[in-house]
């Protein structure tokens, strides 16, 4: 099957100025911004009765990590405490550790500047800024996140304020947006046979672990799949 490309590919590092690369990232990030907006609305609708409208909005402004926010919300709605909610969110966020290590060599800044750029890490931007050879375009990554952050916050505000008038997010199918979104990103990564093998193993690891581990663990454990091509067959 021919590989499909739903995402615009980023230009080679060094071809254009930093500002132009931020702008290119911003443009590439717009479709993901639309998805973030819809996800933000569903987070706002779901979180409002549990957190109240103010904390719901503040959380999206200061945390900006969708899946972690959904996980923490699930714990609090089930009557869990703050510690359990924070741990649940952290487990989902831990994937940003390998993602952050991956972008680290591509960051040209001091430690504080690198820490700040790291804050722009979100799944879509990370995947978009990936050059495929282990290098990342950090300006492109920042630009792409700039397209998604206002959408995530704006969507949350909309959902938290309009809330019930929008209807039940589940009956609107909004919970199916996330897997569709990640599938769209995944397909652009499958050009190499090695990547297909690793993706299949990663999916398998996650599937097997879901019933036995807290949310987030299956995703981090799937990262082990990257070592498969280093195995004895090579």
């Amino acid at each position: 099957m021919a590989p499909t490309a739903t995402a615009p590919t980023a230009p080679t590092v060094g071809e254009r100025s930093e500002g132009q690369r931020v702008l290119a990232g911003l443009r590439a990030g717009v479709p993901y911004g639309v998805a973030s907006l819809l996800l933000g609305v569903s987070f706002g609708v779901l979180a409002r009765p549990v957190l109240g409208p103010v904390a719901t909005i503040v959380m999206s402004v200061v945390v900006f990590a969708g899946s972690a926010q959904f996980a923490a919300l699930a714990v609090l709605s089930a009557g869990g405490g703050a510690a359990a909610a924070i741990v649940a969110g952290m487990l989902l966020n831990l994937r940003f550790v390998p993602m952050g290590i991956a972008i680290a060599p591509s960051l040209r800044a001091g430690p504080l500047g690198r820490a700040l750029r790291g804050q722009a890490l979100v799944d879509a931007s990370w995947a978009l800024a990936n050059r495929g050879d282990g290098r990342f375009d950090s300006e492109f990554l920042v630009g792409s996140t700039l397209a998604q952050y206002p959408a995530w916050v704006g969507g949350t505000v909309l959902g938290a304020l309009a809330g019930g008038d929008l209807g039940d997010p589940r009956s609107l199918g909004l919970d199916a947006i996330f897997p569709a979104f990640f599938l769209g990103l995944l397909v652009t990564e499958l050009r190499r046979p090695q990547a297909r093998l690793v993706a299949a193993l990663g999916a398998g690891i996650a599937l097997v672990l879901i019933p036995f581990t807290p949310a987030g663990v299956p995703i981090i454990a799937a990262a082990v799949a990257v070592f498969l091509p280093l195995g004895p067959r090579r």
Partner: protein, 103 residues
């Protein structure tokens, strides 16, 4: 109410630290050879896992087969036709909503 604000503050601080960890600790130099070889494969591994957990994950440690699978199939069709991602996610949401409405 207090638990809510502790959660917001705790997630804010831990998320910032987790996102800063890689860039601060591994920044500004080449990665160790082993890491450099496997890092390009991280995206397919993590994204595939995210597709699985977001499609089949339920509340708590449960596997759930529900209308999201229909939504994912619709997304796969939309992707194979090279429709834009915003359209892909809308197809998934609409299909899931439709399946829940009739189911």
């Amino acid at each position: 109410m207090t638990a809510v604000w502790i959660t917001v503050a705790g997630l804010c601080v831990t998320t910032a630290c987790i996102k800063a960890f890689g860039p601060v600790v591994f920044g500004g130099r080449a990665l160790p050879t082993l890491l450099a070889r496997v890092i390009p494969l991280l995206a397919p591994a993590l994204l595939a896992a995210l597709v699985v957990t977001e499609t089949l994950g339920g509340v708590g440690r449960t596997l759930v087969i529900d209308a999201r699978i229909g939504g994912l199939l619709a997304a796969a069709v939309a992707i194979s036709r090279r429709w834009p991602l915003a359209v892909v996610v809308l197809c998934a949401a609409a299909t899931t909503a439709l399946l829940r409405a009739v189911g």
